[in-house]
C-alpha cells in the first residue's frame, strides 16, 4: 500500500470525519468530533493495521483536543486522529484503551493533567500527579496555569 491508497482508504470513514488535513506528505490529521474518535481510531488500528504511537491533549480555549497518533510503518506516514471535545465543563471521550491496552497510561496521564474523562477506561486511577494533589485541579488547563499548590 502506498500513500495515495492510504489516503483513499480513508473515504470509508469520511462520514465520521470533519476534514482531513495534510501538513506535509508524511502527516495526516483526521479531524473528527469526540463521539466518532473511537470508531475512527478503531478503523485505523484494526483495518489499516497502524501502530499506536502516543496521544496528546491540547487546551485550545474553545474546546479540548485529544490527538491519537498512529504510525503507518509501511509508508512512513503518521495519522493523527484529532478529536474535538466541545463540552468544556465536563470534557469526556470514549476510551480507546478497550482495544489498545497500550493507550491506558497515556489516557490516565491526560486525565490527570487536563481533566478529560475517558469513558469505559479499564483502570482510571491517578498516574503522575502527586498523591496529595487536590482532586479536580488540572494543572495543564489554561485557566489553572498560574495557580500553584503549596
Amino acid at each position: 500500500m502506498d500513500r495515495d491508497q492510504l489516503t483513499e482508504s480513508l473515504t470509508k470513514i469520511k462520514n465520521e470525519l470533519i476534514k482531513v488535513e495534510k501538513t506535509v506528505d508524511s502527516r495526516l490529521y483526521l479531524v473528527c468530533e469526540s463521539l466518532n474518535a473511537h470508531k475512527v481510531s478503531n478503523f485505523i488500528f484494526k483495518t489499516l493495521g497502524c501502530r499506536f504511537v502516543t496521544a496528546t491533549a491540547i487546551d485550545s480555549f474553545h474546546y479540548y483536543e485529544v490527538l491519537y497518533h498512529f504510525s503507518h510503518d509501511q509508508t512512513g506516514t503518521v495519522l493523527t486522529v484529532k478529536a474535538l471535545i466541545r463540552d468544556r465543563e465536563n470534557p469526556s471521550i470514549e476510551s480507546i484503551a478497550q482495544f489498545i491496552p497500550g493507550a491506558q497510561w497515556i489516557e490516565r496521564e491526560m486525565h490527570d493533567l487536563m481533566g478529560i474523562e475517558f469513558r469505559n477506561h479499564p483502570d482510571m486511577r491517578r498516574l503522575i500527579l502527586a498523591d496529595d494533589w487536590p482532586q479536580g485541579v488540572y494543572p495543564l488547563r489554561k485557566k489553572t496555569k498560574d495557580e500553584k499548590v503549596s
Partner: protein, 143 residues
C-alpha cells in the same frame, strides 16, 4: 576536629537522591563512579542506604511528591551530613521554577527540617564530573 568530621573527610560515603531530575545529572554522577573518574580512589563511595551515608547527592528540582521523601532520607542520614545540590535545578529550580509540581530548590526543603544543614551547590546543566569533584573537595575542606 571531631572524630566523625575527620572520618567524613577521609572517606565520604554518598547516597544518591533523585528528586525529579531529567537524568542528565544522574548520568554525570554515574560518570564519577565509573573507571574514567573513579572517585573511589578519593574514598568517595556510593552506598545503598541513607543510614550509611555521610553525604547526599541530590539531583533535580524538588517536586511535591519528592519533598517529604527527601526530608525522610535526610533525617535518616548520620550527622554531620553534607547535602550536595547537583545541577541548576537542585541549586535553584532552574527552568522549572514556574512549574505546577515544583516545591522549591533543595536547600529550601532541607533547611525546613535542619536550618544548620551543610549544603554545597554544584551548578551546571549538567555539571561536569570535574565540577562535582571540585565541589566535593571544597565542601569537605570547610568541614
Amino acid at each position: 576536629m571531631s572524630l566523625s568530621a575527620k572520618a567524613v573527610k577521609k572517606s565520604p560515603w554518598v547516597f544518591h537522591v533523585n528528586t525529579g531530575a531529567c537524568n542528565n545529572c544522574d548520568i554525570e554522577i554515574v560518570d564519577l563512579l565509573t573507571p574514567r573518574f573513579d572517585v573511589e580512589r578519593f574514598g568517595i563511595k556510593l552506598v545503598g542506604s541513607p543510614r550509611h551515608a555521610d553525604a547526599l547527592l541530590v539531583t533535580g528540582v524538588v517536586t511535591a511528591q519528592a519533598a517529604p521523601r527527601l526530608k525522610k532520607v535526610y533525617n535518616q542520614t548520620a550527622k554531620p551530613c553534607v547535602v550536595f545540590a547537583i545541577g541548576a535545578c537542585a541549586c535553584g529550580t532552574g527552568i522549572f521554577h514556574t512549574g505546577y509540581h515544583v516545591v522549591g530548590p533543595v536547600d529550601k526543603i532541607i533547611k525546613e527540617i535542619d536550618p544548620n544543614a551543610i549544603i554545597a551547590y554544584v551548578p551546571g546543566c549538567p555539571p561536569k564530573p570535574e565540577a562535582i569533584i571540585s565541589g566535593v573537595v571544597k565542601a569537605l575542606s570547610i568541614l
